[in-house]
């Protein structure tokens, strides 16, 4: 492989890594509610993504109305959010509003196992019933440890 090919190969690898990292960093947005009716955007992720094990992170949930782009507040008592670990254990989160961020909700946790975690958001936004599950990837924090 000559020097030019090597540079191109490295560039391609770098671009691929960036796009994969981009996916890992992105929160997931879903629109719920029937078209023509009241629709809401539910955005789910975790704090400080990409998330590694043994590091304090937490739920990062935001809800907005589609029509007005208005954050929807007060849903901490109408939504039940659970997180299910790769091993199948499920925990119900104590969702609370994030101060100074209308329409945003959180709860804290430290994840101990790498793999795919399912965050399930179930309940009501106004009169609209929702039940959505968002898979989130968590990487092994062991590789980051030093010394």
């Amino acid at each position: 492989m000559n020097r030019t090919s090597s540079i191109f190969a490295r560039l391609a690898l770098s671009l691929l890594s960036s796009s994969l990292l981009g996916l890992a960093l992105a929160h997931e947005l879903r629109v719920v509610g029937a078209e023509g009716g009241t629709q809401y955007e539910i955005v789910v992720g975790m704090l400080n993504e990409p998330v590694f094990t043994e590091v304090r992170t937490g739920l990062d949930l935001t809800i907005r109305s589609v029509a007005e782009g208005r954050p929807v507040e007060g849903l901490e008592t109408s939504l039940e959010v659970t997180i299910t670990a790769p091993g199948g254990q499920t925990r119900t989160l104590q969702v609370r509003p994030r101060y100074g961020a209308p329409g945003a909700y959180t709860d804290d946790y430290i994840l101990t196992e790498p793999g795919t975690y399912d965050i399930r958001v179930r309940g009501f936004i106004g009169d609209l019933e929702v039940d959505e599950t968002f898979p989130r990837e968590v990487a092994d924090g062991h590789d980051l440890r030093f010394p």
Binding site: T77, E80, G123
Partner: protein
């Protein structure tokens, strides 16, 4: 000189910690009585709200509204789905907290036994609230200058068949 520096650093840390404390706490609700999602046989005469730190009651807002919705039926008052009632309440609260001239809707009758600054707030209710779902809502100014808001739902239930009289 070294000792003075250490003392100054300790003082600076203490000031920062003290200054940071209120910003971390705000006036989050700690207790609601009757509790959130209570299903009551008898209508309460008052609501007690306890916050994590004192609030300026004169600059705070406390209201209680009936939760009226065309989609609520009698069954919702016997075996309520509180997630749903709270969803309806969340839709009601922003408008209700901003509303003026809503005395004909409100079922609260002002604060009782509450100081100007207090973490413990009692709201009087109209006597003999009829069967129904109700939303207690607040927007409070904490003594740290931050505002928070929230709500809680309770239901005065209809007697089940064969239970009344």
């Amino acid at each position: 000189m070294q000792r003075r520096r250490t003392t100054l650093r300790a003082l600076a840390a203490a000031v920062l910690l003290t200054a940071a404390r209120p910003a971390l706490a705000h006036a989050e609700i700690e207790t609601v009585d009757p509790p959130r999602d209570a299903l009551l046989d008898v209508a309460p005469l008052r609501i007690r709200l306890v916050f994590g730190e004192p609030v300026e009651t004169r600059f705070s807002l406390f209201k209680v509204y009936p939760l009226a919705s065309a989609s609520l039926g009698p069954a919702d008052l016997v075996d309520p789905d509180f997630l749903r009632l709270n969803g309806l309440a969340a839709a009601l609260v922003p408008g209700a907290l901003s509303a003026r001239d809503d005395a004909d809707v409100r079922v609260d009758r002002g604060l009782i036994d509450t100081a100007d600054r207090s973490a413990d707030v009692t709201v009087a209710l109209a006597p003999d609230l009829p069967v129904g779902a109700y939303v207690v809502m607040w927007r409070v100014l904490a003594i740290d200058g931050h505002t928070t808001q929230g709500h809680a739902v309770f239901v005065v239930r209809a007697p089940a068949q064969g239970e009344a009289e």
